[in-house]
Every structure is written in C-alpha cells, then in structure tokens.
C-alpha cells in the first residue's frame, strides 16, 4: 500500500465511507460510514438485521461491497485480504465447527492459519473459559462453540479483533471473563470492533459507539457524547401547578396529576427545566440519570427511529 495509507493507519484502524451492499431487493448497507480509532474498543450496536454482520463481512473481504470505500489497518479489505488477515482475528456471530474435529484442533487451526500463535496463552485461555478442547465439534453446546472461536481469536497475536456478537450464548460468568479479556486486549493497545445487541456490555467495555439501523449509522460518538443526546427523566412535586413545563424547550412526555409532574428532558436543557421547577416551589424531586438504554431503545423503536432518520438526513 502507498505511504499515505500507512500513515493514516496510525490513528485509524477501520475507516468506512459511503458503503452500499444489496442482496437482491434487500438493501443491507445504505451509505454506511464507520470510523474505528486505533487502540479503542468500538461498540457496534443495532437491532436484528440492521447490517452489522454484513458490514463485518465486507471488512473481512468475504463480501464484495457494491460501492463505497473501506480501509482496514491501512489496507483494502478485498485486495489485501490475506495480508490483513495476518493482523486481525475474527469471531463470527454464528460459530460452525467441523463435526469431526475437536475444539482444540479447531482453535489451533484458526490460530496457526493466522500466523502468530502462543500455545501457553491458548492453554491458559482454555482454562479460564473452562473449555474442554478434546470434545468433537458436533458435541459442543452453542456457548462452548462460541468459546472455541473466542479462544482462537484471543490466542492470536494480532492488532485488531473483529467480534460479531461474541457473547451470544455465553453464561453470565463467562461473559464476565470475556469482558476481562477484552480489557486486557485493550490494555495491550490492540483495537476491538465489538458488535452487540447488549448495551450494558458495550457501555462497560466501549470507548466509542456506533449505532446502525437499516444499514445506516444513525449515531456515533464517545459514550459521554451519546449520553449528551439522551434525556433525563424527572419526577417532581411542586406547590404550584407545573403545567407550564410543557412550553419549555427540550421537554417531552409531560404528565401532570394532582400536584405531581413527570417529564423527560434533553440533557442539554436540564438546567432550564429544573430552574423552572424551582420557581414553583419544589417539594420532592427525583431524577433518573441519563442511560444509553433510552437512546438505544429510541433507535430500536420503529416510529421513533423513523423520526430520527428523517431528522438525520
């Protein structure tokens, strides 16, 4: 690759712009932009069928995009596939193993085909994930199949991990261990693209998040930037009627009943809203801190997301 690409690779691990991919009549990716910085854990969130796996397959050079640009570690995902694959590891969303190969053989196979491979680390990971590597692929449960792919990816000495819903099927204990491992990976300065449905997981691990819906990124930013987009939920009792709250900027879903008021307010307008309540004489005040859950649900929820899409374009 020419030098400018190498230079850019310094701070950006994955850069995607205007990516399109259709399967017949289905538009799986629609002008998708994505930016993952080197050394960060980037959460990739979205509802079922949003296009997460499709994006990842394009990034791995398994699928050909219809149009748009994608750069992975400074290289072209399709043309430089083999060279790039030496530097990254992938955990598919649905792990399919060979019925006649043992889990241990599958782990070694993936790790060796990738190049770098640390046997001590591999054994240690098998123990941490409580995985029996002598079982045949066919006899593993779903969670254990998933572990095989995770161990193979984590045992490889690579710069970038691309994980497609890696914890689907893992029990809570294993999820915790997985989270530990991801923190170690991040501590070692490696980059992680983590696709998930589970917001809490991304909140706990991610530095930045992109939310995809119908093949398009609808929100992207650091967690605090996104929190800024969320709403605080306020419940208050006031001396005088709080009907006037309805007219304040950034206030939604107001409900007033016998002296109590309940509303959601955009985080940036919280100050104004609370100031207004203050003028009415506050008897009690409960406010829920902003959670990404709300933002997330807003993009999951059909009509709300529709409105967001309209605003975004």
């Amino acid at each position: 690759m020419p030098e400018p690409a190498e230079l850019r690779a310094g701070d950006t691990a994955i850069e995607v712009s205007g990516l399109n991919k259709s399967f017949g009549a289905t538009k799986a990716l629609d002008q998708l932009d994505l930016n993952v910085r080197t050394g960060e854990v980037h959460g990739f969130l979205g509802p079922n069928g949003a296009g997460k796996s499709t994006t990842i397959r394009v990034l791995l050079g398994l699928l050909r995009a219809d149009s748009g640009r994608a750069t992975v570690l400074g290289g072209h995902p399709w043309h430089d596939a083999v060279a790039l694959h030496r530097r990254l590891a992938y955990v598919p969303g649905d792990v399919n193993l060979w019925p006649t190969l043992t889990g241990g053989e599958a782990i070694d196979l993936f790790a060796r085909l990738r190049g770098g491979f640390d046997r001590r680390r591999r054994n240690e990971l098998c123990e941490r994930f409580d995985l029996d590597p002598t079982k045949k692929g066919r006899t593993y449960s779903k969670g254990n199949r998933q572990k095989v792919a995770i161990v193979a990816a984590l045992a490889s000495d690579v710069e970038l991990l691309i994980l497609d819903e890696p914890t689907a099927g893992l029990d809570p204990l294993m999820e915790t261990i997985f989270a530990e491992c991801i923190r170690e990976v991040k501590g070692a300065g490696r980059t992680v693209l983590l696709s998930s449905h589970i917001l809490a997981q991304v909140e706990a691990l991610g530095d930045r998040v992109s939310i995809i819906r119908q093949g398009h990124i609808v929100e992207s930013g650091t967690l605090s930037e996104l929190r800024h987009l969320t709403r605080t939920s306020v419940e208050a009792e006031t001396h005088r009627s709080a009907d006037g709250v309805r007219d304040l900027p950034g206030v939604h879903n107001v409900a007033v009943s016998n002296g109590k008021v309940h509303f959601d307010v955009d985080t940036e307008h919280l100050d104004t809203a609370v100031g207004h309540l203050h003028g009415l004489g506050i008897r009690s005040l409960v406010s829920q801190p902003p959670t990404l859950e709300q933002l997330f649900m807003r993009h999951y929820g059909e009509e709300l997301a529709e409105a967001t899409n309209g605003r975004g374009r």
Binding site: L60, V95, D108, L109, F110, K135, K136
Partner: protein, 544 residues
C-alpha cells in the same frame, strides 16, 4: 432413559402429529417426488416403446437374446431364463429391472434420509418434535411418504406400460413389473430406516444405504452369471425372479415385503435406544491440539475428506473385486460355448474376458465419478455450512483453500481408479489364472482418470461462477450412467455417447490406446479448474 420411566404414553401418543408431518414433507418435496416419478416412469415407457424400432422382427429379437447371453450381457441385465422367450415384455423386464432397482433404491434411500437424519442433523427435527409430535411420528411420516411414492410409482408404471399396447407387454405382466419396483423401493427404504439410526450424519446414513444397494446389485450380477443361489440373496434378484411378462410369479415379492417389514421394525426399535440428534455410537473425545499437518491447506482438506475417501475407496475395491470374480464364472461359461463362438468373439482382437472388462469398466468408473462429484462439491458444503467463512478470514487465501480441496479431489480420483482397477484386476487375474490381466485392467482404469478430472473441473467451475447451481455437476454421472449403462444395452446413437466425457475414453483393454482424447480431457479439466478458481476469487463468500 425413556425405557425406565413409567409408561405414561400410549401408542397413539407416539404417533401424534404424523398426518401433519406427512403433509409438511409432501409440501417440501412437491417438486422432487414428481420429478423422480416422472423420470422413472417416462424412461421406462420410452424404452419399451423404442423396442419396436430396435428389434423389428423375431429374428432381431433372437439376435438380441444371443448377444445378451454372454457373461457381460447377463451381468449388466438379469437372469438368462428371460432369454428363452425374448418378446418385448421379457426384454423390458430382463434389461431394465436390475438397473431400475438401483434407481428406485437410490430414490428411497435419499428421500428417507432427507426426511429423517438430515432433519435431525440441522436441528429442525428437535424443533418439530418439541411441539405436539410423538416420538415415532417423524419416522412413521417419512416412511409413509417414501412407501406412498413407491406405490404410486408401481401404479404409474402399470398404467404407462399396460396402456402402451405393445405386443408382449401385457396388463398382468405390467402390474407385476410395477409391483416389483415398489418392493425394491420398500426394501431399501427399510435399509435406510436402519442406517439413519446408526450414524450421526446424513451423509454417512445415505452412504451406508447406497452401499447396500451396491451389494444387492453385485450379488445379483454375480449370481446371474454364475451360481444362481447368490442372486437369491439380493432383493433386486427377487424382483427379477418374478419373471414378469414370462412366468408372472408373485411370490418372490413376499420375500421383499417380509424383509422390508423386519428392517422397519428394527429401525423403530433402534430409534428408541438413542437420543434425538445422536447416533447409536457415542462420539469419543479426541486430540486436544492440532497436528502440524492440519494447518496446511492440503492437510486440512485431507482431514475433511478422510471419511469419504476411505469409505468410497473400500467400496471401489469391493466393487472391482466382485466383478473380477464374475470373470472366473465367465470362463466356465466359455467352456460350454462351442469353439466357433469363441473364435467369433476373438475376431475383434479382444477375448471375451477383455470385452467383458471394457463393458463393466465404464459402469464402475461412473460409480467412481460419484465420489469425484461429492468430493468436488465439498468446498460448497463447507461454504454453506458457514465453516469456510472463519477459515477464509485467516491468512489462508481463497486460492490455497480451494487448492487444498482440489489436490485431494484430483488425487482421490486417481486413488479410486487404482483401487477399482486393483480389485477388478486382482480378483479377475486369480479367477482366470492370468497375471497379465491385472496390468491390462490397471491401465484400463487409469485411462479414465482424465475423464474423472474433467468431472471435477466442471464441478469447480460451477462452484466458482454459479455456486447456487453447483449441484448441476451431478448431471455428469447421471448422464454418464444412463448412456454408459443403458446405452450399451439399448444401443443409443453415437452422438449421445459423445456428450459424456466417459464416451471419449478408449475402452481398454478391448480397444486400442489412443492418447489424444486423454490429453484433451486433461487440458479441458485444467482449464475448467483455472476458470473455477478465478470465479471463486472474485465472488462473495455466501452462506445461502
């Protein structure tokens, strides 16, 4: 264990949901079953109709009977009793029943495996069985569908043949002829009902079923040439011994029905001794780490192809050996033929043993081509099963991944030809006491390797450019089989033979060795493989 639990379920509960499942299976097979039925019925009716042109008078029929009365002729058709009165009816029964027995068996085995073991393998059966469906419902429904298909085939054959109005093809004979097909179909459905219990994989279950068909066929072939008692061990032999259109004996069918019943009961009994999704054999733990070889693309491919290679290799060796042993019987038969006949046969420069070898070699090679297609489509099944994706996401390039599989496929083709030549040559040489025969046969088998490579090339080209239509590669063995087998009996026109890659191979040892077709086939195979690789490099990896 379900046995130890208090018996709360009644027999009715065991079968709950059968009717729904039958309807569901028929819907899934609304194309497949009619295609099978149409192909088998129309093929038979067309053959019966063509007899009038092929053998216009009694003299022509007598000549045909004479030419069939050779070891090769009888091995590929049926018992010689038919030849005593060689009218159109007995001709049909003699020439087609054995061949169609194989096809009907194939239909039954494939349909049954598809609706039982294959469903379990994908986990769909678990979903179905967890709803209101009795534990025997699945198997009962699958067997009903297959049995119904076979009975319908019998009815269609009876109507189609009886209605032809061809002299010698009587209604009563046609009824028995159709029923004999249904009997063979039911027996092999029973065989499959047992094999699906034994192995965990549908591929293995189908493979065992096909092996049973092969054994049944070879038993009848060797019995019809030599000791007739051997033919009585084979359901295909029973069907042929109804002597439909000649003696119209019904009782051999009872043997088949009894065997089918025993097999079905055994299948149900075995099914209660295992869990849904598993086989009778429990899988054992294996190695905790991979050997160095596995990480090489050829090593990986070899490991994935291992079962198929070994299974098919043994089958080819046995198939060759059993045809080879027939040659000994053939020699005995020669002893009873007068000197003049022997001299006549040798005028073409080939002995009877050699022309026998050339004739059956084509058929055996086409069986080997089934291996080639199965192996060459392996990359496609790896892809659709989602196992190619994680491997191709490593530093293994697409070319090397597919190349690994190809080395095994092309090498496997050579191995199959060698094993079949070895089996045939060794047992033939020992039964005739002529060691030179082995070398002739090995050469004859190896001459087919370029044609097998060509088949692999077609499969790879389809995989690269038309992955969803990759199964079209099956057209080659199917066409090759129809032309190479039936064509020899029914004397198809030359251009039909030329459309098959196997038709271009010199038929050693009877023919002279000519290199041109072998070189051309090899070059074409190479071109197709290069084409396929290029196609695969530029397309998406897909799971559907």
């Amino acid at each position: 264990m379900p046995r130890a639990a208090p018996k709360m379920s009644t027999r009715r509960d065991d079968l709950a949901g059968t009717a729904t499942l039958i309807r569901f299976m028929l819907r899934r097979d609304r194309v497949r079953i009619p295609v099978w039925l149409a192909a088998l019925t129309l093929g038979t009716v067309a053959t019966a109709q063509s007899f009038g042109d092929l053998y216009p008078d009694a003299a022509a029929r007598q000549a045909a009977a004479q030419s069939m009365n050779s070891p090769a002729g009888l091995a590929m058709t049926g018992p010689s009793h038919y030849l005593q009165d060689y009218n159109f009816g007995s001709m049909l029964s003699h020439q087609m029943l054995g061949f169609l027995g194989v096809l009907v068996g194939l239909m039954s085995v494939l349909l049954l495996v598809r609706h039982s073991r294959a469903e379990e393998e994908t986990g769909r059966a678990e979903l179905v069985r967890a709803s209101i469906v009795g534990r025997h419902a699945h198997m009962t429904a699958a067997l009903s569908v297959v049995a119904g298909t076979n009975i319908l085939l019998a009815v269609l054959l009876t109507l189609g043949l009886g209605g032809l109005g061809v002299e010698g093809i009587t209604w009563s004979g046609s009824l028995l002829y159709g029923a004999a097909h249904a009997m063979m179909g039911l027996v092999f459905a029973g065989v499959a009902a047992v094999t699906v219990q034994i192995t965990e994989h549908s591929r293995g279950a189908a493979g065992l079923g096909l092996a049973a068909i092969g054994v049944a066929y070879v038993l009848r072939a060797s019995g019809d040439v030599g000791n007739e008692a051997i033919s009585w061990l084979s359901p295909i032999g029973w069907a042929q011994r109804t002597y439909a259109y000649v003696d119209n004996r019904w009782w051999p069918l009872l043997l088949g029905l009894a065997l089918a019943a025993v097999l079905v009961v055994a299948g149900f009994e075995l099914s209660t001794r295992r869990d849904v999704g598993s086989g009778l054999r429990q899988s054992r733990p294996g190695k905790a780490a991979a050997s160095d070889v596995l990480a090489h693309p050829i090593g990986l491919a070899l490991r994935l192809h291992r079962g198929l290679l070994i299974g098919f290799g043994v089958a080819m060796l046995l198939l060759g050996a059993s045809y080879g042993s027939i040659i000994g019987d053939a020699e005995e038969m020669l002893g009873s033929v007068d000197v003049l006949n022997e001299a006549l046969a040798e005028i073409g420069g080939a002995s009877i043993a050699e022309s026998f070898a050339s004739m059956v070699m084509v058929v055996m090679v086409i069986v080997a081509s089934i291996y080639v297609v199965m192996a060459a489509l392996r990359p496609r099944s790896e892809e659709t099963a989602g196992r190619a994706e994680p491997v191709l996401a490593t530093a293994l390039s697409r070319g090397r991944w597919l190349g690994g599989h190809l080395v095994v496929v092309l090498g496997g083709a050579v191995v199959m030809a060698l094993l079949l030549g070895l089996g045939f040559g060794l047992s033939g040489a020992s039964s005739m006491g002529d060691t030179g025969f082995l070398w002739n046969i090995l050469g004859a088998a190896l001459a087919y390797v370029p044609a097998l490579w060509f088949v692999a090339g077609v499969a790879v080209a389809l995989f690269g450019w038309l992955p969803r239509g990759a199964a079209l590669a099956w057209a080659l063995p199917v066409y090759g089989f129809v032309v190479g087998y039936l064509g020899q009996i029914l004397q198809f026109p030359g251009w039909m033979n030329n459309l098959s890659p196997f038709g271009h191979v010199p038929q050693l040892p009877a023919d002279e060795l000519t290199w041109t077709p072998l070189v051309v086939l090899t070059l074409l195979a190479a071109a197709l493989i290069v084409l396929g690789l290029a196609g695969f490099r530029r397309r998406s990896v897909e799971m559907t």
